[in-house]
């Protein structure tokens, strides 16, 4: 991490305290049992951290919720909450929105490390009892519950594509549940990616939507009209259904290459420290969300540039004199995004794949990724499912070498750099191995 840590509000910006809208602390207004639950949860989180079990944010929330099942709603009451959800880019966009809202100088509660189910959200709010703002990454499946509990002011919908399908619901079902939940969300502004048909369908039912043309690189899960099931056609103007009237909604914000047209028609260059087009998409969503809170795009963009790595993603670590850069890719759409930010060949790449519970037990998705773009550079392969990767690369005629771990690859790299692409638990293992330097 780079040291920016808005999570938990441990370093609330001093000027913000004066400007806070809520006069008395939300914490002091909580019923006794909720206060107790928060205290017990906080203590458990501290013990968990002391015991070296992660950052302790989830266990605190779990215990707190056991004492007071309505804790999330109670902790969210009186705050302006932003929920961020979608298949890819949740953690990064949460971070970018938090950075942009920093312009307001108010304390912000956020689950910045990706603990995105009810317990993680509860813990994030409990750790920042006085923060008037909250930016909360929310698991796709939990959005309806969390929306009802927090009465969010803004919901940001990024994208939907196949991901861990052995345990997640089919994505059309996810979109349908969102649609039902958002239809009755009053006093809530939905900021939605108009270029993703499933997102557009889910958001279209909401009373208040700000459409953002944030782009969609992965089309494989949206060839079918979410409304009527017919074939969707695409051209440079967007997508439309061949049979019903469903079509890409007109967008108020448009990302065009590396520039964005804002809601007032002004053009800004989206220059970020984070690499790749996917992060420019995330950034534009963050700009649109921030504007709901009165933050001007130009001010917000300056803040977005300060974000250089997010929970270890995109971090560069030195190892045995080489620069190792870590990229997380959890599903086919994520791998496309990772390929987009690779250094030019012949910079070598190490791929690492596991298939544990958080990754999805099924490795079939490897065959949805086109690895031919890796031809022309040294490719190393590791992880618990390295043999699945080996067979996959062989089929794409990409020469590769099996290695035991990161150091094996690092030691074989003659030049100065190595890019690493790993899926979820493989990524965490590599971070731990590199001493959490990342």
């Amino acid at each position: 991490m780079t040291g920016h840590r808005p999570a938990g509000g441990r370093h609330a910006a001093a000027p913000g305290r004066a400007g806070r809208r809520i006069a008395s602390s939300p914490m002091s207004k909580l019923p006794l049992r909720a206060r107790l639950a928060t205290t017990i949860g906080g203590a458990a989180g501290r013990m968990s951290r002391l015991a070296g079990r992660g950052d302790g944010s989830v266990i605190g929330g779990v215990i707190g919720l056991r004492v007071e099942p309505d804790l999330l709603a109670l902790l969210a009451a009186g705050r302006r909450v932003v929920l961020v959800t979608g298949t890819n880019g949740k953690t990064t966009t949460t971070r970018l929105i938090t950075a942009a809202l920093g312009v307001l100088g108010q304390e912000i509660a956020s689950n910045a490390f990706g603990a995105n189910m009810e317990a993680g959200l509860t813990a994030a709010l409990g750790q920042a009892p006085d923060a008037p703002l909250a930016v909360l990454e929310t698991d796709e499946k939990y959005l309806p519950t969390v929306l009802a509990a927090t009465r969010a002011r803004v919901v940001a919908l990024l994208n939907l594509s196949r991901d861990q399908m052995d345990r997640a619901a089919e994505i059309w079902m996810v979109a349908r549940r969102w649609r039902e939940a958002l239809a009755s969300a009053t006093n809530c502004t939905v900021v939605a990616n108009a270029d993703d048909p499933l997102i557009a369908w889910a958001a279209a039912a909401a009373p208040d939507v700000i459409w953002v043309a944030a782009g969609q690189r992965w089309h494989e899960d949206s060839w079918c009209c979410p409304q009527c099931g017919s074939h969707l056609s695409r051209d440079e103007l967007g997508w439309r259904c061949g049979e019903c009237e469903f079509t890409r909604p007109p967008a108020k914000w448009v990302l065009d290459g590396s520039s964005v047209i804002d809601s007032a028609g002004r053009v800004h260059e989206v220059s970020l420290s984070l690499p790749g087009q996917a992060n420019r998409s995330n950034a534009v969503i963050a700009l649109a969300v921030s504007e709901v809170f009165g933050v001007e795009p130009a001010q917000a963009l300056a803040k977005l540039r300060d974000v250089a790595s997010v929970a270890g993603r995109y971090t560069q670590v030195e190892r045995h004199g080489r620069q190792v850069r870590l990229l997380l890719a959890k599903n086919p759409a994520g791998w496309l995004e990772a390929f987009d930010v690779l250094d030019e060949p012949p910079v070598p790449v190490l791929l690492s794949v596991n298939a544990r519970e958080p990754d999805g037990r099924d490795t079939s998705w490897l065959w949805d990724v086109d690895y031919r773009v890796l031809r022309g550079r040294p490719v190393f392969v590791t992880g618990e499912r390295r043999l699945d990767l080996a067979v996959r690369l062989e089929a794409d005629q990409v020469p590769f070498e099996l290695v035991e771990g990161v150091d094996d690859a690092v030691d074989q790299v003659s030049g100065g750099r190595l890019d690493v692409i790993a899926n979820y638990t493989a990524f965490q293992q590599i971070r731990v191995f590199l001493g959490r330097a990342a």
Binding site: R162, M165, D166, R167, E170, I171, W172, R217, W218, H219, E220, D221, W223, C224, P226, G229, S230, H231, S233, G242, P332, L336, R361, D362, T363, S364, W365, L366, W367, D368, V369, D370, L387, D388, A390, V391, R392, E394, A395, D396
Partner: protein, 257 residues
């Protein structure tokens, strides 16, 4: 480009296919390709080319006609809505049914497998008419079968134990004239201890996505039906596949259904 979308009538062939090229037709990759189904096409292409057989692969989207002159037709898995749309289109098109009638090899996975039959369960469990080219009937079961699956192939086919992954809530009944592809060792399959179905040169299975990757014997069976007897591959060309296959077979306790 992503793993799609395929260009209209797109072909993959690297060799210029002669008139004798083996024609592989992937039916509706835009609708039925949810779990890495491209793997089956890539494995067939590779195993044919390693034996000197020219291959021409045709990817047919749902808004295009299905060619009737293919040698092997592949159909993959999909969510409920795409599956229903695919059934509607394929029934109207008639190409796949005509090819199957003409003796083409058909290999269908998961949603594609259910589609071959007389009916399958829609998004609310309602019966939806299938293509009626394989005498099977599918519906929605009580629980979702998710996990590694092992199944022993009917000995007549000479294919070793199948290893794969399943993720479906379908149950399938086989009618007269249709035999089970295999007997479940671990997992759910059709729901009655059998797995998949076959009739003539048509095979359907619940082992989803790139099932041919771990089961080269099944891939070679399809190629043999289409192109005649095949020489064995060089050990080098089988090494990674065999290592993966052994690892997956060893990873699943037999009989833990």
């Amino acid at each position: 480009m992503a793993a799609g979308p395929p260009p209209a009538g797109g072909t993959h062939a690297r060799n210029s296919p002669g008139p004798s090229a083996l024609r592989l037709v992937w039916v509706y990759p835009d609708l039925l390709s949810t779990y890495g189904d491209r793997g089956n096409l890539l494995v067939l292409e590779r195993r044919a080319r390693l034996r000197g057989i020219d291959v021409e692969s045709v990817l047919v989207n749902a808004d295009q006609p299905v060619p009737r002159q293919g040698d092997v037709y592949l159909m993959g898995g999909g969510e409920d809505l795409p599956q229903i749309l695919a059934a509607r289109r394929l029934r109207a098109d008639g190409g796949l049914a005509a090819a199957a009638e003409g003796g083409a090899v058909v290999f269908a996975v998961c949603a594609g497998y259910q589609l071959l039959g007389t009916e399958f369960g829609g998004e609310e469990g309602q019966p939806v008419p299938g293509l009626e080219i394989l005498n099977i009937r599918s519906g929605r079961g009580q629980r979702r079968g998710v996990g590694e699956i092992l199944a022993d192939v009917s000995p007549a086919l000479g294919v070793p134990r199948l290893t794969g992954f399943e993720n479906h809530q379908g149950v399938t009944e086989l009618g007269p004239g249709v035999a089970a592809l295999a007997k479940v060792v671990t997992g759910v399959g059709n729901g009655d201890g059998t797995e998949g179905a076959r009739a003539g040169r048509m095979i359907g299975t619940y082992l989803h996505g790139p099932v041919l990757v771990r089961n080269p014997g099944l891939a070679d069976l399809l190629l043999t039906w289409a192109a005649g007897p095949l020489p064995a591959l060089r050990a080098d060309d089988e090494e990674w596949t065999q290592r993966l296959r052994e690892q997956r077979l060893a990873a699943v306790p037999a009989g833990s259904a």
